[in-house]
Symmetry: C2
Subunit: 266 residues, 2 copies
């Protein structure tokens, strides 16, 4: 069992920021990544639809004989994590709980902002996870639909990104937040712009690294760490042809993308 | 046969600008609209994937016993129109050919710009359609991925839209275009901003109205016009839950949306 791969899925390229953190944190593990690029994005879609897509993705990863599933998509983590955990016989790790826990660790005044897709914000999953850790915090959230296309367009440092960030963050900053959770795997690419707009007193939380740490802890606890370092580079699967994934994904992975195979989920 | 409805499909809400033109141009006809909101957008996806989705949408419309199918999505028109026309026993009308024809009618100097999604621009479908009408024209094209989220966010007249338009249109304007084809059904919402950035000497072409005229001509030619005016308002079908479609779609239809039913295509 321990020699099996860790499976990671996302709606598209965003989850590659999580894969990157996993490679860094767990260099010995074998990794399989699935991007549902034929149906991306999940962030504007309803909970039942995202749940259906997540189940199909998890089934595919199980067919790849993975030992653990990482839901590297905030929207899917928000609406489908428990649902998956109940239905699949391996540990299922999302990106919300690790990010929420980290936010509580670094926030000094307990004034936390959360930004994400419409689906993630509507689900209030971060609010629930944060309040489970500590009840007396103030949380404000905002959906930022323009950030994903800005990141994919390579305009993360463009004036447009700055103005959009000012627009989206204004209501959070007026609440005096001291911590800002980047509740979408695309947003780390906008970190520089977001930090400038939010000011240096606001700490930004990137869930990717925290999620990788959680995975490491779980593998250790269940004695699932590989005995021998994997000699295999990560394998990538997508549901649309790989051209765009390969072109856009490099910036998210911080590496060139190869070995990308197209599969069908529906 | 003539009493049957006209079927319209799009990846989401954008095609509602075409439905609006159809209602205006053909007030007596019964209309059925399908938005594939569970898999929107088509613009970033590959031709084979969009073709598969288009066939599923057309099958659904045929089950609704339509007499004609309008592909109210530029990306699907660009990559799937001939494919559908060969496979379905009713006339299939896209939005590319009507827009291309109109561009040739209004362009004085034959310098035409085309803007659209990545998929539409990559397909070069407008170039082919325009050159079929007249070979000695200069055509320049640009993909504008930010325009769809800007239109859906209600930011069509925001400073961000203006800067994005300046950025995207600069290479076309430097070619001295006198006509600009809005090759995506979302773009008519940005008309004011685009006209300002392009300048008053550039004529904007909105395919929706031209497409409605083509449908009217075809129904007349094949003796498919209704004998009696329809008493029924348009019926709407979507593949995700209707909340977001109803909320965002009103601005595209120019009317409130009701009678929206969720169906499954995959």
């Amino acid at each position: 069992m321990s020699e099996r791969a860790v499976g990671v899925f996302d709606s598209g390229v965003g989850g590659l920021t999580v894969l990157r953190a996993l490679r860094h944190c767990l260099p010995d593990e074998d990794l399989v990544y699935l991007g549902d690029t034929a149906r991306v994005p999940y962030g504007t879609k309803s909970a039942p639809t995202v749940r259906r897509y997540a189940v199909e993705a998890a089934h595919f990863l199980m067919e790849q004989r993975v030992k653990l599933i990482v839901v590297a998509c905030n929207t899917a983590s928000a609406v489908a994590l428990e649902y998956l955990a109940e239905r699949f016989p391996v540990p299922v790790v999302g990106v919300i709980e690790p990010g929420a826990r980290r936010a509580l660790e670094v926030s000094q005044q307990g004034r936390i902002g959360v930004i994400g897709t419409e689906g993630t914000v509507r689900s209030q999953a971060y609010e629930k996870a944060i309040r489970q850790g500590r009840a007396d915090v103030s949380i404000s959230a905002a959906a930022c639909p323009l950030f994903v296309p800005l990141a994919e367009e390579g305009w993360a440092d463009h004036e447009i990104a700055r103005i959009a960030a000012q627009e989206y963050l204004a209501p959070l900053l007026s609440q005096g937040i001291d911590t800002l959770v980047l509740g979408c795997t695309h947003y780390p690419l906008l970190k520089k712009t977001l930090q400038k707009v939010a000011g240096s007193s606001v700490k930004l939380i990137d869930s990717a690294e925290e999620t990788a740490k959680t995975v490491a802890t779980l593998l250790q606890r269940d004695d699932l760490r590989r005995r021998q370092p994997s000699q295999e580079p990560p394998r990538f699967f997508v549901t649309d042809i790989p051209d765009r994934f390969e072109k856009v994904g490099g910036a998210f992975l911080g590496d060139t993308l190869d070995r990308v195979t197209t599969i069908s989920l529906d």
